[in-house]
Symmetry: C2
Subunit: 224 residues, 2 copies
């Protein structure tokens, strides 16, 4: 195959912004870069796109090698390709963001990869243009979050309305009125109240809810 041989090739990598929700805060998984150049700097987790691998596949593989999880919610943020974005060589990177339930992430795996959950509002300076990637990913995720029921991917299967509200507050960065919030939830039949009660975070106990995907597909009206 020589169709395009007059043109030059470049390295393409993938970087993943992994969002988690813990301690009432939106967090991102970052670690110390293990490779030159920039070894030791705070960085997103990433990897190179192989010759025989689609970019979405590469992102999924990268994500799984870090978390051990698959079928995570994942979306492309975009391509970053300034000529000198990488201090080593010319690399174009495609950013993806993913949502995981922090509790699903095996603590041992986390330590092996030497990554940490860091509050998105307290991020250090990251390698290359990774801060920019995070900002863009956050903006895109915020938008989606208000029009599609993706927030549940950041929570356990069973959650209280207070948890859900705090999640939305953490992501959007604004306070939400409790009564108005619960009113809107009540209108969405696919957010189902269960019989179960959570007694961990309050003395009185709070009803646990569940997102019913099937019901959502039948009547996909989501707006928060």
């Amino acid at each position: 195959m020589t169709f395009y041989s007059e043109h030059s090739k470049v390295w393409v990598s993938v970087d993943v912004i992994i969002f988690g929700f813990d301690e009432g805060k939106l967090k991102v998984l970052i670690g110390r870069r293990q490779m030159d150049p920039g070894r030791g700097e705070w960085s997103l987790y990433g990897g190179f796109v192989a010759a025989d691998e689609g970019i979405d596949d590469c992102a999924a593989r990268t994500l799984q090698s870090l978390t051990g999880l698959h079928n995570l919610y994942m979306r492309q943020v975009g391509a970053f390709g300034s000529i000198d974005r990488d201090p080593g060589e010319r690399v174009i990177s495609i950013a993806y963001y993913a949502l995981i339930n922090v509790k699903d992430y095996d603590e041992q795996l986390r330590q092996e990869h030497q990554v940490e959950w860091v509050d998105i509002n307290s991020l250090p300076e990251l390698y290359s243009d990774h801060n920019k990637m995070v900002r863009q990913a956050l903006r895109q995720m915020q938008q989606k979050m208000h029009t599609e029921p993706i927030g549940f991917r950041l929570l356990p299967q069973l959650f209280t309305l207070t948890q859900l509200q705090h999640l939305y507050e953490a992501v959007s960065g604004q306070e939400i009125d409790k009564r108005n919030f619960r009113k809107r939830i009540k209108d969405m039949d696919f957010i189902e109240k269960t019989e179960l009660i959570d007694k961990l975070t309050s003395k009185r106990g709070a009803a646990l809810y569940r997102f019913n995907k099937r019901a959502y597909n039948e009547d996909p009206n989501f707006k928060l």
Copy 2:
């Protein structure tokens, strides 16, 4: 430089979705592919990213080589990188969309490049995954159009409110109530009525308006 030499490189190209508004319709500039594989198929205009060129620069260059225009409004749509998206070889392509005023596009240049304005609702099957790119570009542009004053890039500097309304109808694909539309326009001080009258499209004549960027920057409240 050998930091990443164990990894393989790939070809990266850029494809541009050029939107124009003409005859009351939203149109896209497409042409017959001049290169193998796929020679002769309908296709977006594109080009390869050079080794010493940022991807945004590449898109701007590609856009200018086709239109002769610069400083066009342009945004990245995203990266497309399925393993077999290109029938020839493995190429990752980054799509961009751009907005131009059809009247600014030199007819001779258009013919030289053998590209045509085609109604977005009557697009033929395009090369590779270009139809998908167009769909995604349209969706993104629609969203932006309702929150940022980018529509004016598709119109002459002076335009009538009817033109503006038809533009929004063409982009969103829905009819808009004339009186409600004009009411909302009146609330935006940066859409200025001029003394000039357009007598081409109506006997009575319609007032010509102008988008005042300076005024917009002082009070950027746009919502349509």
